[in-house]
């Protein structure tokens, strides 16, 4: 029983991490119908950005003060993520706005490979796992036999909190209305005085900020980072976005928690154990895409030419 509870807790924490990235996928897809394959790499880059901030920018005495070091790492990681996302949107995706559908998807693959290899070549020692600094609250909350690490708790709170903020922003603010309008019909939105380019850039920035937060938390939660984390976690996040229904904020978060739970529970109870947890997620992805492509909360699929 305690094993199950522990795995449930772990699943929720993994889900929280995936949710932060899934939000970026779902928003971008909602607005320009692009599977931004490189979003996972933005998350990875942010993680390295946070590490770089800690390693080279923070003075020695501040490194020991978690209250200062951690927020500064968040800032560093988020800034890197936002810069990468804006450059990517401007120079890779925007010129292809009217291109055939496959073109931006292939570009996204190119961006993904490029970012991964760029970090591998440029960041010192990036070929091996890099340890993440211990600026996160250590220890865990003990509830009976179940361990709830403070970092994990922070992760869940931040993830759900940010998702709520985002949802509120999109539903209530003027800019949020512009985003929804662009998602529904870019041309009419333009006629109504919405600047689609601005909306799209802003969408990418929001996604990058969330990915940035996720990148730092990933380092804290797993205590080391590597180049491949972006691709793997990105795929999980994409699956979550699809499961929840692409374009739906609430769907992405719930989908992410489901994926997190599937991963940990399958690793524990399914044949093959953790070596195959990855496979089960892909099986879920295929089943969802085949039998309910609109996801749990999405609108029915529009027929596209």
């Amino acid at each position: 029983m305690s094993v199950l509870l522990q795995q449930l807790v772990n699943g929720v924490m993994q889900g929280a991490l995936i949710a932060l990235i899934a939000l970026g996928y779902t928003m971008v897809y909602g607005i320009i119908q692009l599977i931004n394959f490189a979003h996972g790499e933005v998350f990875m880059v942010a993680s390295y950005g946070g590490l770089a901030t800690y390693t080279w920018l923070l003075p020695e005495d501040l490194k020991k003060v978690p209250y200062v070091a951690l927020p500064l790492m968040f800032v560093g990681g988020i800034i890197v993520a936002v810069i990468v996302a804006v450059i990517m949107e401007r120079f890779a995706y925007r010129p292809l706005r009217n291109a055939p559908r496959l073109a931006p998807l292939i570009t996204a693959l190119g961006v993904s490979v490029f970012l991964q290899e760029f970090v591998r070549n440029v960041y010192p020692n990036a070929t091996s796992n890099l340890p993440y600094p211990k600026v996160f609250p250590e220890g865990a909350l003990q509830l009976g036999d179940v361990n709830i690490s403070w970092t994990g708790l922070l992760l869940v709170l931040l993830s759900v909190g940010l998702a709520v903020v985002l949802q509120t922003y999109i539903n209530q603010s003027r800019m949020g209305r512009a985003m929804r309008a662009t998602a529904q019909d870019p041309d009419t939105a333009k006629l109504m005085g919405v600047d689609p380019d601005r909306v799209i850039v802003l969408t990418f920035i929001f996604g990058a900020v969330l990915a940035g937060v996720a990148g730092i938390l990933y380092g804290g939660y797993l205590s080391n980072i590597n180049i491949d984390m972006g691709f793997q976690t990105g795929i999980f996040a994409f699956t979550a976005a699809v499961l929840g229904g692409v374009g739906s904020i609430r769907g992405a978060v719930i989908g992410a928690f489901i994926i997190g739970l599937i991963k940990t529970l399958a690793g524990q109870y399914m044949p093959g154990g953790t070596q195959y947890d990855y496979v089960w997620i892909f099986v879920v992805l295929i089943l969802v895409l085949v039998f309910r492509p609109q996801g749990l909360f999405g609108e029915p699929e529009r027929v596209r030419a």
């Binding site: 291109a99 073109a103 490029f114 591998r120 041309d187 990855y278």
Partner: protein, 571 residues
């Protein structure tokens, strides 16, 4: 792609300068070819072909890239005054060629020689060759914008059949020569320290000349001609391919590289059926090649093979192809319900499931990360395929039999592709690619056709995989990961979707470049990612676009406008 507004603005400013710039560019290129390029001898000996100051020992000996520069300059001068169609395009291509040759050599000398002094002036020695060359290239490109771009020339020349055969024969012989030159230029390995730079420089030259030929309309005319005499072209092409071992490239090293390219080219052609013809993006395609390789390995009698039976290669290859084909149909079956980029994700998921399962040695048949080593080499009448071969007085390099086998494989794949493309099935695929709903309305059974595309594509990949297993002697899941799928896809896109020569060219480029550019091994994938982005941005139709595909891509802007209009109406 419509010509964007800025070029017309540039044109008006540059128009009167077109011809003068072209002449100046041509003359400067010739001058650059005769100037020294390096102020001193590099560490590894003279920069190729006496382009350092020692050049003045033999002022008329122009070889290597300087010979290319000279040719480019002369060609530009000819193009400026000769009555040719689409002068602007020709001069632009030659200009890029000149600029690339100068830039590659200049940059390499700068990096290797330790700073700009190496290509300017040092201790009283002057060597401005690369800078003059670069200026020449830029002038030519500007001149091209001044002259303006007419549509690519249309050649109306009709040839009688024997004459057409002669032209095709000459052209393919030239292709063979170019390929052999491309492979061997600069050499390879530690004995040739400048291999990477010389190769890139040659590539720049070749690209410039090819671009010029294509601009003047020759390539288009030639491809129409070869389309017209398809059977003859295929035979000649195959013969040319089989003659490669007799050229400079006929040594073990290049036979191995060429065989590897062939395997990937065959796989790329298979992928081209799925992506290029049927328009279904497959991101896990290399898994089928992996399945084929694993099946072949397990039936090969290797020590770690799961099944204790050893089948002769042809039987094992056929089984591999069939098994891969079955998996292809399974992976393709979601196409009945899933479309577009969602389908791409489904195929990606299948690909990842394959990699993971193979990595974990599923069912004991993949041997996980230990791979399946010791797959026996193929042999025919006692001649092992990896040994050198002596027929009478002719001694052929080692690995030549694999090369021949793989040429046959590529030829067979091409034949399958070409026959399908021009058949009822191929037309159905193209119709599905263009508009699935319309295709269905026209009575095409779209579901069946889409699964068929996956099945045939996977079968071809399985076959290629079986050859791959025997040739490399070992099969590991490492060779069939996501990145390989992306590379194959990139080969198809780079070459031109739906076009056969395109797939071969794309595979050749993507798998030769890493061999030649070992200096940049770490940066290879990064450049590759950047290349994908740039191709999609600047030449989404690929290097050798398929005629249909090309038309479609050019019209796409209008189509999109229409589509948006439709959607607006619907909402």
């Amino acid at each position: 792609m419509s010509v964007n507004g800025t070029s017309s603005g540039k044109r008006s400013a540059l128009a009167p300068l077109g011809k003068p710039f072209a002449v100046a560019g041509g003359v400067l290129a010739i001058v650059a070819a005769l100037l020294p390029w390096v102020t001193f001898s590099l560490n590894d000996g003279n920069w190729p072909d006496k382009s350092t100051l020692q050049f003045f020992d033999a002022p008329f000996e122009v070889t290597g890239f300087r010979w290319h520069m000279l040719l480019l300059g002369v060609l530009v001068l000819v193009a400026t005054f000769a009555p040719i169609p689409s002068r602007g395009r020709v001069i632009r291509a030659l200009g890029w060629g000149t600029a690339l040759v100068s830039f590659v050599n200049g940059a390499y000398i700068t990096v290797k020689g330790g700073g700009l002094a190496a290509i300017t002036a040092l201790d009283g020695a002057v060597a401005f060759g690369s800078i003059v060359g670069l200026v020449a290239g830029v002038l030519m490109i500007l001149a091209a914008y001044g002259i303006g771009f007419e549509p690519v020339g249309q050649w109306k020349v009709k040839l009688s059949t024997p004459l057409a055969y002669l032209v095709l024969l000459a052209s393919f012989a030239a292709v063979l020569y170019a390929v052999a030159a491309l492979l061997t230029t600069g050499g390879v390995g530690a004995a040739n320290p400048y291999a990477g730079a010389i190769f890139l420089s040659f590539l720049g030259f070749a690209a410039g000349v090819l671009g010029a030929l294509s601009g003047v309309g020759f390539i288009k005319w030639l491809s129409a001609l070869s389309e017209q005499h398809r059977v003859f072209s295929v035979i000649v092409l195959a013969a040319c391919a089989l003659l490669l071992p007799f050229t400079d490239a006929g040594n073990e090293y290049w036979m191995t590289v060429a065989a590897n390219i062939g395997i990937y080219a065959a796989t790329a052609i298979g992928l081209n059926i799925v992506v290029g013809l049927a328009g279904l993006l497959d991101l896990g395609y290399v898994a089928f090649m992996g399945i084929g390789a694993l099946v072949a390995a397990n039936f090969s009698g290797a020590a770690t093979a799961h099944f204790g039976i050893t089948l002769p290669f042809p039987v094992a290859a056929i089984i591999s192809a069939i098994v891969a084909g079955i998996f292809g149909a399974i992976v393709g079956s979601p196409t009945l319900r899933v479309r577009g980029d969602y389908l791409a994700i489904v195929t990606l998921a299948f690909g990842e499931i394959f990699t993971r399962s193979a990595q974990n040695n599923i069912g004991g048949i993949t041997n996980g990360s230990n791979a399946i080593p010791g797959i026996p080499q193929l042999s025919l009448f006692g001649a092992e395929f990896n040994k050198s071969l002596t027929i009478g007085a002719v001694k052929l390099p080692a690995g030549v039999l694999y090369y021949v086998l793989i040429v046959l494989l590529v030829a067979a794949t091409m034949a399958v592709f070409a026959n399908l493309k021009f058949s009822r099935i191929g037309r159905a695929w193209i119709a599905i690619r263009e508009d699935e709903d319309a295709a269905r309305a026209m009575g095409i059974r779209t579901g069946k056709m889409k699964i068929l595309a996956f099945l045939i594509g996977a079968t071809l990949a399985g076959l290629a995989g079986a050859v791959f297993a025997h040739k490399n002697g070992t099969v590991s899941y490492e060779s069939f990961k996501f990145l390989e799928s992306v590379t194959l896809l990139a080969a198809v896109i780079l070459g031109g979707m739906g076009s056969i020569p395109g797939a071969v060219l794309g595979a050749a480029l993507l798998f030769v470049l890493p061999e030649k550019l070992r200096d940049f091994a770490d940066w290879r994938l990064m450049i590759f990612g950047l290349a994908l982005i740039l191709i999609m941005r600047f030449r989404p139709v690929g290097l050798i676009p398929d005629a249909h595909r090309r038309a479609e891509m050019i019209e796409i802007a209008d189509e999109n406008a229409e589509e948006a209009h439709e959607e607006a109406k619907r909402a």
